[in-house]
């Protein structure tokens, strides 16, 4: 800004008249004004839930366990059995880490909130349907018939939309998520349509990894015990090999069972095309009624699995890294009448705001 001997007017209006030479304010990306309770890193490329403490715990547990295994057990096993063991262990470890990070850092399928125009239009439609009265109407639902089953679509008061089927609002992240499975504190994110396959691959590979480590740690102890006797080996090893200490083995044993159990549960969910949310609520269980069945299932297990794991990956709907449209008007020269109407959406939204302001 040039130096000037005139004094500045202090009452600068909040919506100054637009001129083509307006000083440019730095452009903000959409993630910076995201309404949900999410944390963003790397300029919007990484998206996580607000509470990430347990995620770091998961990361530490995996790294420490694998680190100890590679340091203390693998040299012996590679020497006395086969060097393939550390290689397989390494591949599994990298796969687990990759899928974990992918699950934690990606957008689970968050539905963007309705624009004010959309919300107003929906309100109008609901008022017409209810017969507009002075007081607030009861919770709004819409019924839809999908494959012969009646499904209730609920209105989300936070996001101001009718939630699509299978979507749910996560109270921790304050977002509506498509095909909401559950909010997993261990991965520090919701599990939804876009990252369910990564989550499943993570727990599946983690099951294999924990079983693998557990089995080879036992093998290591047994091999050593051929020399000293089993109990002596078990007693001695903690001093020299802290990983084979009894407490660690017990922890490993229980974690193996819980992770394997979880993988089994999710395998069942995938093969019947249900979400954890639906299973817990018993939405499609036959206990609700004789004619109650899952309308989303493709009929056979193979198609359900393929659809969940190998189906097309939908893109993120929230456009984290897009720029928020600046307020500068684009005065396009009117070459013909069509150019005026064929303006880009950003121009139109600005045109609307210009008219509402003035």
């Amino acid at each position: 800004m040039r130096e000037c001997e005139y004094s500045q007017i202090s009452t600068r209006s909040s919506t100054p008249m637009e001129t083509p030479y307006k000083k440019r304010t730095p452009k903000k990306r959409k993630w910076e004004t995201f309404p949900g309770r999410n944390k963003f890193y790397c300029d919007g490329r990484i998206m996580m839930a607000k509470q990430t403490g347990v995620f770091y715990l998961t990361l530490v547990l995996i790294l420490v366990t694998c680190g100890l295994f590679f340091t203390f057990d693998c040299p012996y096993l590679a020497l006395h059995l086969t060097p393939v063991i550390p290689v397989i262990g390494g591949v599994l470890f990298l796969f687990v880490l990759g899928t974990l990070l992918r699950t934690s850092f990606s957008d689970p399928g968050v539905l963007p909130r309705a624009t004010p125009d959309e919300a107003a239009d929906l309100e109008r439609q609901i008022d017409v349907a209810n017969g507009s009265t002075g007081y607030r109407p009861p919770p709004r639902t819409k019924e839809v018939v999908i494959n012969g089953q009646t499904v209730k679509l609920k209105y989300c008061f936070t996001c101001k939309i009718f939630r699509p089927p299978r979507a749910s609002h996560c109270s921790l992240c304050d977002n509506c998520v498509e095909r909401f499975d559950h909010h997993c504190p261990w991965v520090g994110n919701c599990v939804g349509r876009r990252n369910y396959r990564f989550f499943y691959m993570f727990i599946l590979s983690l099951s294999f990894l924990t079983i693998f480590i557990f089995a080879f740690v036992i093998t290591h102890i047994i091999l050593r015990s051929h020399r000293n006797g089993f109990l002596t080996a078990l007693k001695d090893s903690p001093a020299r090999y802290p990983f084979t200490a009894q407490p660690w083995l017990v922890v490993c044993f229980f974690s193996v069972w819980s992770i394997v159990g979880l993988s089994g549960f999710h395998t069942y969910l995938i093969s019947s095309n249900q979400t954890t949310n639906e299973d817990i609520k018993g939405s499609w269980s036959s206990k609700r009624g004789k004619d109650n069945y899952n309308p989303y299932s493709y009929g056979n297990i193979f198609t359900n699995c393929c659809a969940a794991l190998c189906g097309p990956l939908p893109p993120s709907l929230i456009d984290r890294r897009g720029f928020i449209e600046s307020d500068a008007p684009q005065l396009a020269p009117p070459a013909n009448g069509i150019t005026m109407y064929g303006a880009t959406q950003s121009q139109q939204s600005h045109m609307v705001s210009l008219y509402t302001v003035s």
């Binding site: 000037c4 100054p16 992918r102 959309e118 839809v144 893109p315 064929g342």
Partner: protein, 166 residues
């Protein structure tokens, strides 16, 4: 709403004649360039076939005076078909999924997914429809992806007859 106009370079207040002239010119230019938005129509999603992306083909009453029912239905039906193509489960999508899994999903760093390719196709189609059919009738289709695939937003502009440039 009379705000004090300032010079953008040195932030001094403009004199009254200059202010009047600026306001007149800006308003005139705006009137020439930007047609008023009369209303917006929102075509909602049709969930009767499940969670796939599909929009209702019911013809809204606000568009009756502007466009043919058949033309509108054709546009929406084509959009529905394109979205169905994006979400189709078939050999190609399975192959892409398996390949991605084997490369630990790093392949998406250099390759576009099938869905993204179809979304680009949809964007081109909407632009094309706007230029050829909707703009001459004072309407504007918004790409649903900009509204989170919730609605197809149709902006209706005031029916002003524009003398020049047609």
């Amino acid at each position: 709403m009379q705000e004090k106009l300032q010079c953008s370079f040195c932030s001094t207040a403009l004199s009254f004649p200059l202010q009047t002239a600026t306001r007149f010119l800006t308003h005139s230019l705006q009137d020439l360039q930007q047609p008023a938005v009369s209303s917006k129509v929102f075509i909602q999603r049709d969930y009767s076939s499940g969670t796939i992306c599909k929009f209702q083909t019911k013809f809204p009453s606000e568009l009756e005076s502007r466009i043919d029912k058949q033309q509108f239905e054709e546009t929406i039906q084509t959009l529905n078909n394109l979205y169905a193509e994006a979400e189709k489960l078939g050999g190609k999508s399975y192959l892409e999924g398996c390949l991605a899994c084997l490369t630990a999903y790093t392949i998406f760093l250099c390759m576009e997914t099938h869905y993204e390719k179809v979304l680009k196709k949809i964007a081109r189609y909407i632009k094309d429809q706007n230029e050829k059919i909707y703009a001459p009738r004072g309407l504007l289709l918004t790409d649903p992806i900009e509204r989170g695939l919730r609605v197809v937003e149709i902006t209706i502009f005031e029916d002003r007859s524009i003398g020049s440039g047609r």
